[in-house]
């Protein structure tokens, strides 16, 4: 007989690990399913190994990064089942989760699901962004964390956002050769952000960290060019540098590695596949699944914790993971509402503290219009199927009312990444072309598998309920 888990937690980043910890302490049975081989998510990627094998790198990667070690150790030493190296490819509204270890597909049954699937960097479509040598800033940070690697040869960073500066700072400290930092942020953004400053002052540690970072970068002598526009990447078989406009003139900077970053956005593949209600963030231009203060969604058994429900950062993600589990425990009758509220109270005030910095950051680093809706018709939007901004505008003029008809017309979003790279841009380009708001345009429908799965695995799996249960794992 099937004994379902109380909670299936998808993702072992800060939200997922904290949720697992909370579930364990409340005596709930939970399974954490994560694609990585070790806990940490992207923010705490490989943290246990870094601390054990090259602790000196914490100086570069930061003490905040080291904080993840406690969470990861805590989760692993608890009774929580951790399915590492498992890719979730289908989630059903009743709590059935299908995953694969790369060889065999499995079915997991749970009473509730907590999506802790986090964020991804906003894809940054500019001419030339598909060339080898172009990566995201986050990608290079992952390489620093997971493999102690840095680019060999000159590097240029372009875009905006806290992570862009953080990675620049870490690269400088690691001895990488930075040719320049070209940021889309300009003086006008600082003016726009100014009214948000008083609220942000309550989260002083974030402000301090940001200012220190900027000071260190400045001291290193790496040129920072602000208020850039018209960014394009040069090169034929691979990137050779970037060209952009700033201060009324055109700049070209040679580099072997081009790192792009334009903020992070929730990864909504799973929430879209479940057809949860989504909202649109007007300043940061991203979709987020609508949740209440506990992370409950439009589907009764599905909760979302962490940046997957909106970008608030790792510390807030941890808190939201705990809050989701408290609500689930009260739904399952493990704790009563009074106890839920008693435990939740300090968490809410902690969350409030971490959230205070967000309006300032959102206003300071908005994605520029030319990234959301690239003007150059030849810019590739769908990297997999090689569909350009011009193709999309042409389909809009044919009357494609939204992304799904457009997908049908152009195959955009039909490649292996399943729309992760082009989804937001397609919505924005259609919205601009049709004079509508992104909310009226909508988003791609997402269907299983969430990631490609071999036909053999699909064919050979046991679809019978109860094949993988809390007792047989």
């Amino acid at each position: 007989m099937t004994v379902p888990f109380d909670i299936a937690i998808i993702g072992a980043g800060p939200a997922g690990m904290a949720a697992a910890h909370e579930a364990n302490s409340l005596g709930l049975s939970a399974v954490v399913i994560d694609e990585q081989n070790a806990p940490g998510g992207q923010i705490y990627r490989n943290v246990q190994r870094v601390i054990a094998e090259r602790p000196e790198d914490i100086r570069i990667l930061g003490t905040e990064y080291a904080c993840g070690n406690g969470l990861a150790d805590g989760m692993q030493s608890s009774g929580i089942k951790h399915l590492a190296g498992h890719m979730v490819w289908q989630i059903e509204r009743d709590g059935t989760v299908w995953c694969s270890d790369g060889n065999k597909a499995k079915r997991i049954q749970a009473r509730t699901v907590v999506l802790a699937t986090g964020a991804m960097e906003r894809p940054m479509p500019v001419p030339g962004w598909t060339l080898p040598g172009v990566m995201t800033a986050g990608a290079v940070q992952i390489l620093m964390k997971s493999a102690a690697m840095i680019p060999d040869g000159p590097v240029v960073l372009a875009g905006s956002g806290p992570l862009l500066l953080l990675v620049a700072d870490q690269l400088i400290q690691s001895g990488a050769r930075l040719a320049a930092i070209a940021e889309t942020t300009s003086f006008s953004h600082y003016l726009a952000a100014l009214p948000k400053l008083p609220k942000a002052l309550s989260a002083m540690e974030y402000l301090k960290k940001g200012l220190q970072m900027r000071r260190r970068i400045k001291a290193s002598g790496v040129p920072i060019i602000s208020g850039i526009s018209g960014l394009r990447i040069n090169g034929g078989a691979k990137a050779t540098g970037i060209t952009f406009k700033a201060g009324g003139r055109t700049h070209t900077i040679a580099a072997e590695t081009v790192l792009l970053h334009q903020g992070v956005v929730p990864n909504t593949q799973a929430s879209r596949q479940l057809r949860l209600d989504h909202g649109w963030h007007d300043t940061q231009h991203y979709w987020y699944p609508k949740t209440d203060v506990f992370g409950a969604t439009s589907e009764e058994k599905v909760f979302i914790a962490g940046d997957g429900a909106g970008i608030f950062g790792a510390m807030a993600a941890e808190v939201s993971g705990r809050l989701s589990v408290l609500q689930i425990a009260s739904h399952l009758g493990v704790i009563d509402v009074a106890e839920r509220d008693r435990k939740a109270k300090p968490l809410f005030s902690e969350k409030h503290h971490h959230d205070a910095i967000r309006p300032l950051l959102d206003a300071l680093f908005p994605p520029p219009a030319e990234i959301l809706n690239p003007r150059d018709d030849a810019t590739i939007i769908c990297r997999c199927e090689e569909v350009t901004a011009g193709d999309i505008r042409k389909a809009a003029s044919l009357g494609a009312p939204g992304p799904n008809q457009l997908k049908a017309f152009l195959r955009a979003g039909m490649g292996p990444c399943q729309g992760r790279m082009c989804g937001l841009a397609v919505t924005e380009i259609l919205a601009a072309a049709l004079g509508k708001s992104p909310v009226d345009i909508g988003a791609y429908r997402i269907r299983p598998p969430l990631k490609p799965l071999s036909l053999a695995e699909l064919a050979d799996m046991d679809t019978d309920p109860g094949t993988v249960t809390s007792s047989s794992l």
Partner: protein, 379 residues
Amino acid sequence: MPISTAHKNYDVAVIGGGMIGPALAIGLAERGMKVCILDEGDDVLRVARGNFGLVWFQGKGFGMPRYVEWSRRSAKLYPSFAAELKENTGVDIGHANPGGLELLLGDEELAHRRHFIGQIYQQGGGNEYEVEFLDRKQTESMLPGIRLGDEVVGASYSPIDGHVNPLFLLRAMHTRFQQLGGTYLPHHRVSGVVKNGQAYDLQTAAGTVSAPKVVIAAGHGLRELGPPLGLNIPIRPQRGHILVTERTQQILPMPMSAFRQTREGSIMLGVSAEEAGYNDMVDTATIAKIAQRAGRIIPALRNLNIVRTWAALRVLTPDKCPVYQESQSHPGIYAVASHSGVTLAAVNAKVASGWIADDPAPEEFEAFSSERFNAQKTA
């Protein structure tokens, strides 16, 4: 109520922008009529985006010889229809007519298929019916380089079968329609149709559109729109699933009713049939079954990655044959319903459109009337 920006005097208003509406609309526009298509928004039960893409003859028309002829006629019209679309719009719909196979696993499937195809042949009264049975060896010779699974005993084959890229067909038809001066009106969901003098007013949230003739090609929307207009056509949704693999080098030389390789290289695997009401969520057990069967027929497919799956809702009549019906209580209002929008696109554009434009109705059309369901009920 806001006035639609496209409030003009049309000769025909077509409700539905899927496979059937645009095909008919192209034909009407080619006949010099002023036509608009009223469509819903992006998030719609659009079976036209869920198609497999077969232009299929074998096995169609059980119980209705006229439907056998109609499918054959459309398949024969396809090459010129596709060429015309390409010439005028630049969109290559990828039509090919290499013949098609239905591969059969085990003697029981073979016997069942023989019986079924035999019945369709016999109902034709000894007329030519271009379907033959191949043994395993003959089947292998049609699929060079492919190792068939051990259970494959043979196939039924028809030289008339073929396939297209249904999504490019949809885009090409929309493009062609607008080239011919047609007006496409998305976000015009029709809430009601009322008689207004010589014309009908189609009410939408975006304004009212008027035309003396109205074609309802609205798929499942017919259930709501039809009855007040004297069109009680018993259609129901039947869910079907399709799996799509990553792109690979060309390996399948011809479509099979369960697989076809697109010109882009991905392989589509189908198809299921479930009664699930209007639920178009993907069912995991069903896609697993499709994957199992595919691997039993062509084991090499097991190596491929599935990148997408989807479920769509067929528009099914009780006898699975199409309906073309003019309302008796509301002359000038026509309903067309079929789950075979791809196969019939050519004949809908070239022939069925004439029935609406007042050419003499094709002889098939008596058989396609929805009266047949009333007759069955009273019999």
